[in-house]
């Protein structure tokens, strides 16, 4: 026998005989490629959906700021909490998790630390979401869903409840009249208010008397009396 060569012995013979007897063949590479691709595709879809969730969340927050609340940079915590679109943030978290789990199921995914994968997926979704929002992807998704799904419309519809908390500084409703610095308003529950607007910043383009519904930030000063700090369109 030449050096470096060996002959067949027990187990190898048995294994080869069994393979032959059962007619076994190696599964084709495409089988494994397809199986691995499933996880990569799932990871990519999850990242994309997470990014869209973030884009809609950004849209929802900025939209609230533009249509009634203060600017994001001057929002107190309760404003931010009100504007956070919980549904989309939950979606974002779930899709990020799904992307991370999918990556760990790929051929070499187990070699990466789970926390590192989650952090990378989180950063990727966030970055992609910000990039998508440059093209108003969040707004478009929001409008598309609102136009086609009643339940979504219900969830995202005009925030009457949020603007029916005068004690917390949120008063919304229909402008009945404007007389100098006093605005008469009927809130969404039907009560009438006398609102002092002398010191308020007004971001409504139209004359207030013609605007219809407005969103006012300020504070209660007496029974059915309110002093406004800012006035914005309500939609």
């Amino acid at each position: 026998m030449a050096e470096g060569w060996v002959t067949m012995s027990g187990l190898d013979r048995e294994v080869l005989a069994r393979i032959e007897r059962l007619g076994l063949k190696p599964r084709p590479p495409i089988y494994f490629l397809a199986r691995r691709s499933v996880f990569w595709i799932l990871a990519l879809i999850s990242l994309l959906l997470g990014a869209i969730s973030i884009a809609v969340a950004i849209f929802a927050m900025t939209d609230l700021a533009l249509t009634g609340g203060r600017g994001l940079d001057e929002m107190p915590f309760d404003d931010i909490a009100t504007s956070l679109p919980l549904l989309w943030l939950v979606c974002f978290a779930l899709f990020t998790l799904s992307a991370a789990v999918s990556v760990t199921k790929t051929r070499r995914g187990y070699r990466y630390r789970p926390l590192g994968i989650v952090a990378t997926a989180l950063a990727a979704s966030l970055g992609l979401g910000l990039a998508l929002q440059v093209f108003d992807a969040g707004g478009k998704t929001h409008r598309l869903l609102a136009a086609n799904f009643a339940s979504y419309q219900h969830y995202t519809y005009i925030p009457y409840a949020e603007w029916s908390r005068p004690a917390e500084g949120y008063l919304g409703g229909e402008v009945l009249s404007v007389n100098g610095a006093i605005l008469r308003l009927r809130d969404f529950r039907g009560s009438e208010w006398s609102v002092d607007i002398s010191a308020a910043t007004n971001s409504v383009d139209e004359p207030l008397a013609d605007e219809g519904d407005v969103a006012i930030r300020g504070k209660v000063t007496g029974p059915q009396e309110f002093t406004a700090q800012s006035i914005a369109e309500f939609d």
Binding site: M8, V15, L24, Y110
Partner: protein, 197 residues
């Protein structure tokens, strides 16, 4: 049939995919280490090791195209062997085996070589008892590291976990082992309930 024994794993796998008879070389190359590993995992079911190892090689053959040729073949086969042995035991409602006396001696020798426990007095029966008391996740990595002589990278491939986690488990496993041994020595050669938990 004669075949070269020094052929690289990846070449051998590529050749097997063209000619199934070349698979005999792979079987011969790994049968001894896999049989020993499976036997160790099966413990009292060790007599089934040959059947399990045969299943391992058949399964590996069917999944040969899943083998990542940029990585060594050994850990890939170990992983299949580990899964097959665990699956065999689960079907019978058993846990993978604890380490026997011979393994205890092997580990003891390695720990002495590495001076892992400094001046702490070590005895093979103490090491074995302490190992039996370890949680399986620590015992698995210690066994692969000190009995099977696998690198962190190979253990990572076999147990499908990040190399950093392997390093952490080995470190923690050694710490627990050391703490159990100190108690073993101070307890007149007996482990407390905690170390056995």
């Amino acid at each position: 049939m004669n075949q070269p024994v020094d052929e690289p794993d990846a070449t051998l796998v590529a050749r097997t995919l063209r000619d199934p008879h070349a698979y005999g070389v792979i079987v011969r190359r790994f049968e001894a280490v896999l049989r020993r590993y499976v036997k160790r995992l099966l413990g009292s079911h060790g007599q089934a090791a040959d059947d399990v190892v045969q299943d391992v090689f058949v399964k590996a053959y069917v999944n040969l195209n899943d083998y990542d040729q940029s990585r060594p073949l050994g850990p890939w086969l170990y992983r299949i062997a580990h899964n097959e042995a665990v699956s065999y035991l689960r079907k019978r409602g058993r846990e993978p085996s604890v380490i026997d006396g011979e393994d205890g001696q092997l580990i003891l020798a390695k720990l002495r070589d590495e001076n892992a426990f400094g001046a702490a007095p070590l005895s093979d029966s103490g090491v074995q008892q302490a190992l039996e008391g370890l949680e399986p996740r620590y015992r698995d990595v210690l066994m692969l590291r000190y009995v099977e002589d696998k690198s962190y990278d190979e253990i990572s491939d076999i147990l499908q976990m990040p190399p950093g986690t392997v390093a952490t488990r080995i470190r923690r496993g050694l710490e627990r082992l050391k703490s159990a041994l100190v108690k073993w020595n101070g307890n007149g050669g007996r482990l407390g309930d905690y170390e056995r938990a």
